[in-house]
Symmetry: C3
Subunit: 503 residues, 3 copies
């Protein structure tokens, strides 16, 4: 029991101090690396103004090492990808000022603060001073375009209106207003990312007297596709949570669950009931989440989201099983989320440019024909499938992996067929004037259609991909798909039966 353990630990500490000297403090300034003068100035006040984030930063690797030391690590162990780090940054901890005063000219949110040009919004370009490869890869990750892919797509805009527009009911008529910016920022854009603007400055009364701060719009936000005041897109803090920026946090599925748990993308839920998720939940206390590279069987005994989708994985013998990537598409042959039909992954992270044969900004037509010019070809699919299967093969035989994959692709195919059946009912409903295609997402039969593919189709395919069985059956899967199709059918039938009776 821990009670006993804690006492033991105390006793041991005494004995260890005697044997080894003082226990090294994790806090910079007490045995850690030097802190730059500007960062030390920040800390002087912020240690009392925002003590929580200062304490969090002190626990970070940024506070405990320097870029110079970090670059001396053997290549596979290295966490910085820059070939060279600017002279002034090399010998001190990565503190407040190193990030919040980087590239001041590019930052519209830069303001004079106690004699420093500070910006509140730290961006991927700021991180790229030391981590340029990761930033470059991430800029090609479809997630980096999560905001613009949503806001620059007319169809998605009408989906947003059907969700975020406020309804009113007067004289027996239902009407829907336009979504307020604050509402979009409080809902879709929390994950997709806001556009952060700077509209002026204002004086605030602080513990240290009056001070001037920029007025930001779209703030706060740390959505993955945020548009930043320095012109960059994305937010590293979406996964590498401030101010510890811990790789361990990013590797745990809880981080992914922030945005990938709801019925529209229940990846986390599916993972958690899979054998892999079971082992994670039960064994994570024994795993090492912060080792680079990450060794299968030694640092972990079952994959997390990061293992399969992003991390640098090696075998116990040190052989590279999968290279690190921040462009998650590298390992994805199929896109099974968020759209009426699963399809080959888009070529470009900017999906707002896609037009299907009907001219809609969708990668597949409503009757299931993919817009091939915008999607990767079978050869590229095979390559990506190979990279992903390489991860599987570190624990499973090729028979196992192939058998699993055959079922997965069969399920993709069948899910698309179900979506086709539902879509045909919807097209008939529009044709028979049972619904109005003006906004494709706001009437009951349309909402049933959306839930069919957005909730239940995705759930079914994710359950297949990760072996979280019931999410493909009763937990929002095939049972619900067949139910939605039946309800759509019944609704159309009722409309047709009632219709002729009208004069």
């Amino acid at each position: 029991m821990k009670g006993r353990k804690d006492r033991t630990t105390l006793a041991i500490l005494v004995c260890v101090i005697a044997l080894l000297g003082l226990p090294g403090s994790p806090v910079s300034g007490e045995g850690g690396p030097k802190i730059s003068e500007p960062s030390r100035e920040c800390l002087e006040c912020h240690e009392s103004v925002t003590p929580g984030i200062v304490a969090d930063w002190k626990l970070s690797r940024h506070a405990r090492t320097t870029p110079g030391l970090a670059m001396k690590k053997p290549e596979l162990q290295r966490r910085v990808s820059a070939k060279k780090v600017p002279e002034g940054l090399s010998g001190t901890a990565v503190g407040c000022a190193e990030c919040h005063t980087a590239n001041p000219g590019a930052h519209k949110d830069t303001f004079e603060h106690v004699d420093h040009k500070v910006h509140p919004v730290v961006t991927p370009k700021d991180c790229a001073v030391c981590h340029p490869v990761e930033q470059e890869q991430f800029s090609k990750n479809i997630m980096c375009s999560a905001r613009t892919n949503l806001t620059d797509n007319k169809l998605y805009q009408s989906l947003i209106t059907s969700i975020n527009g406020v309804q009113s009911f007067n004289k027996m008529k239902l009407a829907t207003g336009e979504p307020a910016p604050a509402t979009n920022e409080d809902s879709c854009l929390v994950c997709h990312g806001t556009k952060i603007g700077v509209t002026g400055k204002r004086i605030k009364d602080t513990d240290f007297g009056e001070m001037e701060f920029p007025i930001l719009t779209g703030w706060p936000n740390q959505g993955v596709g945020r548009s930043n005041p320095d012109g960059s897109d994305g937010s590293c803090a979406a996964c590498h949570t401030r101010h510890r920026f811990s790789i361990a946090t990013a590797r745990k599925p809880y981080t992914c669950s922030q945005c990938h748990k709801g019925p529209d993308v229940p990846a986390y839920k599916v993972y958690m009931v899979s054998k892999h998720g079971n082992l994670f939940s039960g064994s994570k206390g024994e795993w090492s989440f912060d080792k680079v590279p990450w060794t299968v069987g030694k640092d972990f005994t079952a994959p997390t989201c990061a293992t399969c989708h992003m991390s640098l994985i090696v075998s116990p013998a040190g052989d590279v099983i999968a290279k690190r990537t921040h462009q998650a598409g590298d390992r994805l042959a199929w896109r099974i989320l968020g759209l009426p039909y699963a399809h080959a992954h888009p070529r470009s992270p900017d999906t707002s440019i896609i037009r299907n044969k009907a001219g809609q900004p969708l990668p597949v037509t409503l009757t299931g024909e993919p817009a091939k010019a915008f999607l990767i070809d079978p050869k590229e699919q095979a390559k990506r499938r190979g990279i992903m299967q390489g991860v599987c093969l570190s624990c499973h035989t090729s028979d196992w992996v192939e058998g699993h994959w055959a079922r997965f692709e069969s399920t993709i195919n069948e899910t698309n067929q179900r979506t086709l059946a539902a879509t045909k009912i919807l097209l008939a409903a529009w044709d028979k004037k049972a619904a109005d295609p003006g906004n494709m997402f706001d009437e009951t039969i349309e909402k049933q259609w959306v839930e069919l593919w957005l909730f239940h189709g995705n759930s079914t395919m994710l359950a297949s991909a990760m072996m979280g069985a019931d999410y493909g059956v009763f937990a929002g899967g095939r049972w619900q798909m067949s139910g939605r199709i039946r309800e759509m059918h019944d609704r159309l039938k009722l409309f047709m039966e009632n219709k002729p009776k009208k004069p």
Copy 2:
């Protein structure tokens, strides 16, 4: 890996024993404080009769210290709030008898048990011997009235009937019976609390021969608003689980999830997908959950439910950020749960006294007008908002906090507007005889209305309050709100279209 660690621990134990002597046992009686004679008598039998709870108690602070020692702690570290503890209790552990024989005269459930006047149901008044401030605060917490606020409100009674009454179907007619007491105790009152009565005594055959015990009604129960046989309300064990009564348990969100996870109040779910919940899940192994006071950045690096709503929080420098409160309303400007419209928090924990303009026991009329006389005023709201924001500000800048709060209050406002639209449809349905307002909660259109505000409105506002985005969108949020409104509209429309055709 832990396997290695376990062996190491064993080895270390050997070495530590050699260096420091015997490893102190956590169990009272082996190096711990003295146990009173009555408690020792209890333990003699109960160590074999109910070994699990005895073992649990031995792990508790109650078993490891004495009220006398506890009162000598510096004020901020003190866990007892009594100015003075009765003489006889000061020098021994807080054992079985100390609680189960306290205030025997007040307890209707007191019975003679092996020469002691024992009561099975330990109550807040019993705990108040050492923790009077907590008991006093909790008595003003709306949760302490959770039972009576439900059972003494006629409208809620009809809601309960619509849920717990058993339906029957005969001759094409649906009928609903009255809820059985056992059913209410097995459902709503598990969390809200039962009324515990004493209806007599009975003889039972035990391992120690025949013994007499009181016959209790409403037992077992540990609901937060339980009515106790000593006339008190509440159950400390709802959160400070018996028999360890661990502050660590109460501070973890799992405790809150017992009652605050379902669709009617998905606070736990929202928290868990928030950045805060992500950090809790991933970092909790490094946190100290039992320190008093609780230091931000040192004992924890992201808030749990308790942090924001109840706990005594200090900065690493020891400055008090928020005072401990067991009256959670102290930090709540708005009441966003459980009712058709969000509104300023009620003044009194007894909400059964509230009457809106229409005379209903609701804090807001069906068309959205608050019963201001019963609710706190904007000044008090500002004060409470300030206390809560004080917690936020230990990690976030004032810009961040204000931006967040502006969105939250905008979402409260918009959610109320959506509820108004739905309610207008319901009022029209009642007016047109499409539904019967006799019981407001039992017909399909009424149930859609209830789900709109009770499930989806609450979810949307909680998602905004805690930044658990998808719970305000697809995971039971705005998508479902607009869906419910549309379904209510369709149902009324169908009724109106079919109606004129009748003779």
Copy 3:
């Protein structure tokens, strides 16, 4: 904080090494038991081919001890139940070859692999070499028949068709195809288990040249009722996950959640919001999950699924509270899952033989009459209730347990009454031609009926059994049951109102 702890641990390791000599490595071959020659040959290649599972096995007890040593343990601590283990197996670790080459003649999947007769699919009969009692018990567990109970029941087959058959919509008509085998294997059978067949052999190109492997159908799978190529049923790996086969994993509720979390059987969800689940979540870091026997109050302070349903539990004094069983029915008086009415547990694990009075393969008629000949009698129910209550009584008084049980059985009774009301509506709908009983599960009113008992009835009874209150109210419980009944009623009423108007 852990950072500090890790450093401390490192320091301690140094000191412990000095005091005690080398820290024993958990890895076989480095201080562990001897590995057999065949297993050593396996490891030679598979350490690089499938390093993850080799590493996982090295952490297992199988790799760290031998059957010979295991049999020398005192009886209560023993994990092997064989009276005698074959001579050749006694002195070496249980490695790859020990399991994958056991009983080669019985295995249709046996193939020649590097001079060994290897089979990929390890089965309960293979495990029974050392664990015969567990295999024997499990063969009588209803879960061992999970596949055949589903596939050999005609009614369930039509349920599967309504879920897994792909719909199409043409000329305003909805049609449903037959489920594909791959679809069943990707959904229901993931948990229930597939039938694994051997259809031939094929040559594969491997890192070690061309090799021949068997072609398996129904693979991969580790469903609990899998039918194996050696004629046995079941998969121990369903719970004792390969290749660590950890008892700790099996005892944690995450393992059960793989199949028991969805709306059709939300046992895990209910548990997690119960007081027991709360304590598990918050205290599990202090518990010992791998001790045999498992001591209440010492190794754990609240039950997991395994505690109540399977594990060997003893008191701190060493008294047996509950014997280990792999036939979970031993502790179950009622069957509250998966069927229209709760009923006494079936006598035989093979439920496909059951016929109710109407000749249907169901343990209860549609109007609620149990098929008593196939179900245990009240005396056997009382015995099983007693075993389960024995576990409760290690922490709770008899008053508590009896009060809880009275509510539980009242809820079983009432849930059955609600199901009866819904079924009467369905029978009326069939009678009035509002629905077609051809497939009982595929029309909207039928699906509402299924959700009533399969989702909400089960949830309500589980919530009662484990005190996870809201799962019996708003979280898929009585609120939804009354809602489904009302919707079925409304649908039938609408049909009846529209019908007479037709010519």
